[in-house]
């Protein structure tokens, strides 16, 4: 990578505050590298560097900054700089920035847009959050089907500057409806006198503007394209989505799901960009909610306090039993949440999943139950514990409870994501800790019910 040495040089220049040389250097770097350098600078210096940069370079570098740096900078930049940046930015990147700005800043941002760009920005923001419309760009090349390849190349030359890509060319009819898509290479490689129509094979994949972004990721995964056209409800071409933006969407969604699965709110920024206070807030809310739920375990156990008083040995296996339920629930929920996100499994499949997980849960539960039983009998044989003289009954109690708890954990963990989606909520909120908390209370009750049934008259 040619940029590495240069990047080091600029880093030095920045430390020495040699502003002219910095401008020189930044203009030779890839904007992504420039943005990376910039985001290492203390925030108050961003504005200084921005003032040095020519308009286009400013916009190019700004576009590549991490979203949270963009948001901060919109507040820090002069009105004129904001105007430059927002008007020159790619419309899809701009949408994403506008989504994140606080409401009062959005107003100021929109006012700085030129009429044409304002129209574009408003239209893109008009699509519901999380849909294809919010990640598409209207900067594509669309051509009528009946022109020749030579004419097409002339048109493409003219439109190239304002297009996100010219690698894919879209054919539209007189009403702007999408007819087909072509690769630039097909046009370049064909006889210049051929019409575009004769290159078309009528097979294309289009994305509806209101399609959820997760589905867009699936389409890109399936069809292996670099760009897909986006159409409105009557088939009019309204934008394109490119593979690089879809990659960002896919990575972001997986990150959010994983953080939720772990039982916290999505951080929405890289680890070190989230202040410790913010981090505590994002985690504390769920942690406290789970804690309140978990308090029920104390109440549940309270009902059996006398039994514990009689035979403390019963209490020894409480952590083992509830954690096994939590672990099996965590496995099931993480597998199902991901399968739902990847559309491997849909809401309709819940019965099929239920019956599979019932089988899995039963087998896993029986497996652990047997190990648990053997553990108790073995400890007794080795003389490590006497279990009030009833090792087999104790072993049976623990074994049965384990089977039931693991079964319950597996089924609850697999069904909860379906239930949440059915209620219109995010399945990823069925976090591992959430499922564990659910299973802890029911697992405790189950264990003590089995214990009182089997041990009454002997230990209890």
């Amino acid at each position: 990578m040619l940029g590495t040495a240069l990047r080091e040089d600029i880093r030095e220049l920045i430390e020495r505050r040699e502003w002219d040389a910095i401008r020189e250097g930044l203009s030779e770097l890839d904007p992504a590298d420039g943005a990376e350098l910039l985001s290492e600078l203390p925030e108050e210096e961003h504005a200084v560097v921005f003032r040095l940069l020519p308009r286009q370079l400013l916009a190019d570098i700004f576009e590549q900054l991490p979203l949270e740096d963009q948001v901060r900078n919109v507040a820090a930049l002069s009105n004129e700089q904001v105007e430059t940046v927002l008007n020159e930015m790619a419309p899809d990147d701009r949408t994403r920035l506008l989504e994140e700005l606080p409401a009062n800043v959005v107003q100021r941002a929109l006012e700085s847009l030129h009429p044409e760009q304002l129209r574009v920005a408003r239209r893109l923001l008009g699509y519901p959050e999380g849909t294809a419309g919010r990640v598409m760009t209207p900067e594509y090349v669309a051509l009528p089907a009946l022109i020749t390849c030579a004419q097409a190349l002339k048109e493409i030359r003219q439109k190239a500057r304002s297009a996100e890509t010219v690698s894919s060319i879209f054919l539209v009819d007189e009403r702007g409806r999408l007819v087909d898509d072509l690769e630039l290479s097909q046009i370049v490689l064909a006889d210049p006198q051929t019409t575009l129509a004769s290159l078309a094979d009528g097979s294309y994949v289009a994305v509806s503007a209101t399609l959820p972004q997760a589905e867009v990721v699936r389409l890109f995964e399936k069809y292996d394209r670099f760009a897909l056209p986006v159409t409105d409800s009557v088939g009019v071409l309204v934008g394109i989505i490119t593979a690089d933006d879809v990659l960002d969407v896919a990575v972001r969604e997986a990150t959010e799901d994983m953080q939720k699965l772990g039982g916290s709110e999505a951080l929405e920024a890289p680890y070190f960009d989230v202040g410790v206070g913010e981090m505590i807030k994002k985690r504390g809310g769920w942690l406290a909610a789970l804690f309140l739920g978990e308090m029920l375990t104390a109440s549940a156990m309270g009902h059996f306090e006398e039994d514990i008083q009689k035979a403390a040995v019963v209490a020894l296996f409480v952590p083992l039993i509830i954690s096994s339920g939590g672990n099996s629930g965590s496995q099931a929920t993480s597998i199902i949440i991901r399968s739902l996100a990847l559309r491997e499994v849909t809401l309709r499949d819940w019965r099929k999943v239920f019956s599979r997980e019932l089988t899995s849960g039963l087998m896993l539960g029986l497996g652990l139950g047997v190990i648990g039983f053997l553990r108790i009998v073995l400890w007794n044989r080795l003389g490590w514990h006497d279990y009030g003289g009833h090792p087999y009954l104790m072993g049976l109690t623990v074994g049965i409870a384990l089977t039931g708890v693991v079964l319950a954990g597996t089924v609850a963990g697999s069904m909860l994501p379906f239930l949440l989606r059915r209620l219109g909520l995010d399945p990823a909120s069925a976090s591992a800790p959430f499922v564990a908390t659910l299973v802890d209370v029911s697992g405790l009750l189950l264990y003590f019910l089995v214990a009182t049934a089997l041990l009454r008259g002997t230990l209890l």
Copy 2:
């Protein structure tokens, strides 16, 4: 999407076993749709349909089948069909298939390759698993820098058929070393008599063939390209990686990490493609291992059996305390695992993370500790429980234990992924259940130590 109606038709034809019409229909569909249809068929019919298809269509559709279907089909297809498919497949997709085939089948597969393709396949498989070399394709267009755009277009026309993309063109010197990359559009839009060298700006991003795939994903995310060149240790261009393949890598890696985070092995196939037996195996191993670890809780509590016998009330809070440790550990580990995967955080940052998590853990722990204390005092005031007459001491015990356990969970959950990476293991193995199990045992000991210290002489 034009294909939908057609797809329904073909589905019907398949049900009616009208083979000729099926071939017709499949040749009009996008191969990805054809593959989707095919994978809905019972396996024994795959071979029947394959026999109908012309060579290229067979290869195109095969390439788009889910990997596990490909693996199964290699066993089911005739030698001749395997030969067709493997020789016509894109080299990067073929590498991925060969990676998954059992060793004896790989041998047969390699033998069916023509000498040229065999050379390519062996070279790609020569790179370590999980590196850029394993997802790249050698089917790109490389040109010398000194030819004119007109000459270049002629060359590109000739090479187009055997290239994965001609949207990016790579300039190399006489030794094959990468000099720069150009977009096809730049060449098309330039004066035909200009040399390629004069279009070059010498700034390009190249990927080393041995770079881990996770880093390749980061590069694509950062630089927003459709294709990146791959070079060997001396800068010779050896392949290209395209954004669509990187998307697949990113999605696959996130899926594996999420499944591991949930405490099972990565499934490596869509949910319904994993048999119930296989599913139980993938989950049972970890579940049993965690269970064995969790058995230590019973031993740990066993040491305090007499105390519990004296004051069963102490046992009531065990589930609450250990689950709080588990929950905070689950949050921390999921956040850190993802940050490590995204390279937001690197191994070197462990001290910084440690000090942040120490603060977070302490604050979160104090928060829960206070709630726990208040809960006990409140229950006492309301007359719901008397806590052996010592509600404040009991509340203090639980509060202190909670603070310590949440702190321990947070720190252990955040540091374990670093430790695993340092040992050369996968950080994602620090699953939520694994961390919870660790914290359960230490949490129990902590709780009972605090309890015996504070309650000796009163309750105990």
